[in-house]
Symmetry: C2
Subunit: 365 residues, 2 copies
């Protein structure tokens, strides 16, 4: 599989939904496979909250496999032998695209907490500029899971002429109150970390690792299903030799401690806050007074919505809400609920039915 | 209603499940109504995780209404004109009974983090000593919700001859992996608060308020139902004048911030850790190799189990597990699932059906 990673600089300014403007910005982009001559085989993949541009294959620098490697690759559900797959790190992220850890060209200093608020719409607008740069007029498919699914849905609404198909997996047309509440607890943990310094931790040469860790531990619980946690860990005690801390009793505690710690090494706290705020504020029907049918009435592409029965972050009902509004709005849409063992995270993993459905949707005329 | 509040000192030592021993201890106790001559009208009420002895009526010192005031009182579901109701602050709590904020009689210093680990069984054993002190041989009813429901169930198993009826509401026979996971995130927030000082914050003349606050915010989400949050707050923005902090956008964020802050003023962090550990470690079938039927086979009292359909902390299925094991163990048990709007917290509130069921159970011959 031909993997190309590059940082693309955009001189054209981007007016953000908040009213702020980025005079220029960078997007870190990875592509897989080859673009055909008439540029009709391009698939745009949108990452979830803490994901990035590295969606497939092995990154030789970090030795990490892409977050959707089970789905994207030669002869996989998204077949890189036939399609040219593009994934970009979202604006405000911390994996190379412009975000809180980038240098503000106006001041020569790191943005930090002063990086402007970003919305899902802003990501879509930035990716439209990326499409123009790549001279891709019409994506064969724009797709993603979780926050990436929201982004794909917004693509279908914002740029109806620029995609043929849209895949919205384990997502919702808006965040629920409980989603917002959970994110607020995570942000609170970060903000109150003594090393957060009101977002100016880089200047203080430190990092609010503890806050990020607690935030990620909570996130993890919401990504897994209750049943999956029960099957995986149950009430088993952690082996003393492998305890990550003396406070740990149960295996599940050890797992969360380990996962949280690892995440806090790599992710940026201001990005965490910015990304969760983008998630909270997303509402596909915001411009149509809460009327999703009306918002979706502009859609021209075909829509595939997939929900997972064990997902309690964005339960199947949220996908159904999109389907029902789509039906009323005369959008060609298919909705499938799959039995995912991994809760919300199910969208990340290859599974017979899931793969077949994605692939059939892509290949369908 | 006759309310009596007193601190009862127990000189008789208490051997704890952990193997540690408390040579003496205090229980803060409140009673409502009058004990009849043959001491047959006593009801023991067990509080939930962050509750205390103050279950009903108005506390003239704090001006606070008891946590189960909607259920306990003259002519209420638990009628104090007919019954003598007793509630004690659990050992390890922070409302007067011996716990981390008490002075260790051996050292003359506050226990702090050195207060021994406490289990649900220890609470039941301490309450058995309280029964002896009050000369109550057989409780007419032992009941409680949430962690208090677990405690009531353990009463039925540990002291089958000392209660006539048992009410287990919004509870489970053991904590699930997800319950443990949520508690671990809360504990992590507390432990990593810069003012926690490894549990020695009292010596440092401070308090890990931020950690406690985040912990409580998370707790609150688990106590309410997703639907209730949606109805109560939806995606409404907080009015600028009433924002508790500049970081708040949505009403639900403001609510959690407010609730968390308030809780962090009054609760003790070591108690929080101790109580959640007691909750995590509870398993009614621990002594019978996970066989709940066997554990319940000793029960002689009648059992009323109530679950609430919107409770996702201890979902109705957990009550059903108790019922099924009880049926196999030949225990006289009734199980009802009620439509509670308040999620897990539904057990706290009066509702027509709920009140009638509790009252009918109490009055039944």
């Amino acid at each position: 599989m031909n993997i190309v990673k590059k940082l693309i600089h955009f001189d054209k300014g981007l007016l953000l939904e908040s009213g702020s403007k980025l005079d220029s910005f960078d997007l870190m982009v990875e592509t897989y496979g080859e673009l055909n001559e008439d540029k009709s085989n391009a698939i745009l993949v949108c990452h979830a909250f803490s994901g990035n541009h590295h969606a497939a294959g092995l990154d030789p620098e970090t030795n990490q496999v892409g977050w959707w490697d089970q789905i994207i690759g030669p002869k996989k559900a998204i077949d890189t032998e036939k399609y040219f797959v593009v994934c970009s790190n979202n604006l405000g992220g911390c994996s190379g695209s412009s975000g809180p850890t980038s240098v503000n060209p106006d001041t020569g200093k790191v943005y930090g907490k002063d990086f402007p608020a970003i919305s899902v719409m802003d990501w879509v607008n930035a990716q439209k500029l990326l499409s123009d740069f790549l001279q891709i007029k019409k994506w064969h498919l724009v797709t993603g899971g979780s926050l990436g699914g929201m982004q794909a849905l917004q693509w279908a609404i914002s740029f109806p002429d620029n995609l043929l198909k849209c895949g919205v997996f384990a997502a919702a047309a808006k965040s629920s109150t409980q989603n917002i509440a959970m994110n607020e607890v995570s942000r609170e943990s970060i903000r109150k970390d003594v090393n957060f310094f009101d977002g100016n931790y880089i200047e203080h040469n430190t990092k609010p690792k503890n806050g990020l860790k607690a935030a990620r531990m909570l996130g993890h619980i919401t990504y897994l299903s209750e049943k999956h946690m029960d099957v995986k860990f149950g009430r088993k005690f952690q082996n003393t030799d492998s305890k990550v801390s003396g406070n740990v009793d149960y295996e599940v505690e050890n797992y969360l401690q380990y996962k949280g710690e690892k995440f806090s090494d790599s992710f940026d706290a201001n990005s965490y806050i910015l990304m969760t705020k983008a998630m909270d504020s997303y509402d596909a029907s915001a411009d149509t007074n809460g009327n999703l049918e009306k918002a979706m009435s502009v859609i021209k592409c075909r829509l595939l919505i997939i929900g997972f029965d064990s997902d309690w972050l964005y339960p199947p009902q949220r996908g159904k809400d999109i389907q029902l509004a789509g039906m009323k709005a005369n959008v060609s849409c298919t909705y499938v609920i799959l039995p995912g063992e991994q809760g919300h995270d199910s969208f990340l993993f290859s599974a017979d039915k899931y793969d077949v459905i994605i692939n059939t949707f892509i290949e369908s005329q």
